[in-house]
């Protein structure tokens, strides 16, 4: 299945901003996180199609996954 992966803030360092990726059915967010060389602890916010999700969330064909470290501001 086809997944759009977006990375933000420090996650972009040495990686990318946006990538189109192919993954087998049944792939969850955790698998993509680990494949990127990120650890579970580093992940602050996961958004799938603009909705908050967890590492266990199973992705569907055509989903957009956005990954952020913990960030904040005002």
């Amino acid at each position: 299945m086809h997944i759009t992966v977006k990375l933000f803030a420090t996650f972009r360092n040495g990686r990318f901003k946006v990538a189109q990726q192919e993954h087998p059915d049944g792939t969850d967010c955790r698998k993509i996180v680990l494949e990127l060389g990120l650890t579970e602890e580093e992940i602050g916010i996961i958004l799938v199609n603009s909705r908050h999700a967890t590492l266990d969330h199973l992705l569907q064909d055509g989903d957009t996954l956005a990954l952020f470290p913990l960030v904040g501001g005002g």
Partner: protein
């Protein structure tokens, strides 16, 4: 000994007073709101003789506590018609605290058509007539005062917008680099202008300094507190690297970035104005990605932004301003937004109110969406010069909406709604609706929990738990705003268990008292109730705790969310 400085502009007299017992345990917002509620008739005209302008450093300001250098300014707001506290960094708060000044209260209006300045030093405060700097921008005022009085001089000043009593006018505070931080919201610059005070200069030579009741206990607590700030990923890494503007991309991704005057929740050109792009641009041009708004700030979320030739354009370049001129006005050019930020600092006008105003002005057809060149012209030629159009624009979003018959006007209690769409981030909608300050994201920052996974998680698109979340955060914020602390200490305070007790320990060690967590919560509740009561006496009812109609009737993409709280659900907020 702590003292109150009182300035009467009607008879041009000044007084040094001892601190009344009931004010002794208060600082910052707790003190400004208490004084305004006690001494300002709620039904007075904010620009008339009965309003008072109060400045107060926080309880910990002037000590070695990290991030404690904020100054509160309070008055009846000419923008909202209710009570107002607005706090800012800069150097003035710590200077006033070291001088032992718990509050500076300015009352009355001059009889003569003359302008004045105030000078504060170890002997008190003096009033002098001012002629030279009238009509000048804030940067010129600071430059002139440093030349006249020395580099170390503290400055609180208004620009042309304040002199012209525009309701979006702010009060500027000199920062450690002789640039500007602002008491931005609520038109406090117009109150200072009404009292015909162009600036207040501060000299803290020979100041008695701060006495700590239990220095050893203070040192231990201060260390624990600073460690918590540095350990938390938001205050320790995200904010210093990307500034507050790191939020553009995440709010865009979450569908809560108000765009094109609050008609959509995502901005196509978000990456061009994002914190990530801003960071890379600053580094490439030799600017500073990290900068503190006051001495002792260890978060350093501010920055210095240069143009492509490496020349200074602006500093303290915040998410709110960049969102407002960027997404809300559809301007995708960070350099033009930076120029506008600098102009707003110089003119002395709130960059949130003005950005929201431009979104409404674009909808009104005064200028096209995305037209940054015309925006810069309107700032310089109309607002800066106080033309009739400039005065309408300088009155903020509500003023333009009324003058031009616009129905989509994002304000609560006439104050512009900041950078988070309340339909798709519902907790912040409760804060906008119920805040005693008018629409104000900082008074109960539910974005932390709705979007950023700080202090837990409450689904931004559902109503469940939002009223309680906003209430708890507004209570905590009222207390934090009284300490002189930067509100960003809330990020570690929500997640790191040692942080808040260390803050309370510092207050206890400073004053030799024994506050508990409950005392602090009760202080927050008390402040909110005092402010709410002032607003009720000023004529506000629960019907003013509402969002504009269009949020209920216009779904916002991408979630097609509407504002769906009932009146009764919102009114539950005050049930404490």
């Amino acid at each position: 000994m702590d003292k109150i400085l009182r300035v009467n502009m009607t008879d041009l007299t000044t007084k040094l007073e001892t601190v009344p017992t009931e004010w002794a345990g208060l600082g910052g917002r707790g003190l400004t709101s208490t004084i305004v509620a006690a001494e300002v008739p709620a039904d007075c005209h904010p620009l008339g003789p009965n309003n008072k302008l109060v400045f107060a450093p926080g309880l910990l300001t002037g000590t070695a506590a990290a991030n404690s250098g904020r100054l509160s300014a309070g008055a009846k707001s000419p923008l909202t018609g209710g009570i107002k506290e607005s706090n800012a960094g800069g150097t003035a708060a710590q200077m006033l605290a070291r001088l032992g000044i718990k509050a500076l209260i300015i009352e009355g209006l001059p009889k003569a058509d003359k302008w004045y300045n105030l000078h504060v030093n170890k002997d008190g405060v003096t009033i002098q007539e001012e002629t030279e700097l009238l009509g000048k921008g804030n940067f010129a005022v600071i430059e002139d005062l440093e030349a006249r009085l020395g580099k170390k001089t503290g400055v609180l000043t208004i620009g042309p917008a304040g002199e012209l009593k525009m309701t979006a006018a702010n009060i500027s505070v000199k920062d450690p680099d002789s640039k500007i931080r602002s008491h931005g919201r609520g038109g406090l610059g117009a109150v200072m202008g009404s009292k015909k005070i162009k600036y207040i200069s501060i000299d803290d030579a020979g100041a008695p300094g701060i006495k700590i009741a239990d220095p050893e206990k203070f040192k231990v607590a201060a260390r624990t507190f600073a460690k918590a700030l540095l350990d938390h990923p938001v205050s320790g890494e995200g904010l210093p690297t990307y500034g507050t503007n790191v939020l553009v991309n995440i709010l865009n991704e979450a569908g809560g970035l108000p765009t094109r005057n609050f008609t959509v929740g995502q901005f196509e050109a978000h990456d061009k104005i994002s914190g990530e792009t801003m960071h890379d641009t600053i580094v490439a041009r030799g600017g500073k990605p990290k900068h503190g708004c006051h001495a002792g700030c260890i978060i350093q979320c501010s920055q210095v932004y240069n143009d492509k030739d490496g020349k200074y354009v602006t500093s303290g370049f915040e998410y709110e301003t960049i969102w407002g001129l960027g997404a809300d006005c559809c301007i995708d050019n960070l350099d033009d937004i930076a120029r506008a930020d600098n102009l707003m600092d110089d003119i002395g006008i709130d960059s949130i109110e003005t950005a929201v105003m431009f979104g409404v002005a674009m909808e009104a057809g005064i200028l096209p969406f995305g037209d940054s060149k015309e925006m810069l012209r309107l700032l310089t030629e109309e607002i800066g010069k106080g033309t009739p159009l400039g005065r309408i624009l300088g009155g903020g979003a509500g003023s333009v909406g009324k003058a031009y018959g616009v129905t989509r006007v994002p304000v609560v209690k006439n104050q512009g709604i900041p950078a988070y769409d309340p339909r798709s981030v519902k907790g912040i909608g409760i804060t906008y609706a119920t805040s005693t300050m008018g629409a104000d994201h900082t008074s109960g920052y539910t974005i932390a929990t709705n979007i950023l996974n700080v202090g837990g998680y409450v689904d931004p698109l559902k109503k469940d738990g939002q009223v309680e979340l906003s209430r708890n955060l507004q209570i905590a914020t009222a207390a934090v705003d009284s300490t002189g602390m930067c509100i960003f200490i809330a990020f570690p305070a929500l997640d790191i268990p040692e942080c808040l007790p260390a803050l309370i320990d510092m207050i206890n060690a400073r004053f030799g008292i024994n506050l508990t967590g409950d005392d602090v919560t009760n202080l927050g509740k008390h402040i909110l109730k005092v402010e709410h009561q002032f607003n009720i006496e000023a004529g506000f009812t629960n019907k003013h705790d509402r969002l504009p109609e269009f949020f209920k009737t216009e779904p916002v993409a991408p979630h097609n969310a509407v504002w769906d709280f009932t009146d009764a659900e919102i009114d539950e907020f005050w049930n404490f």
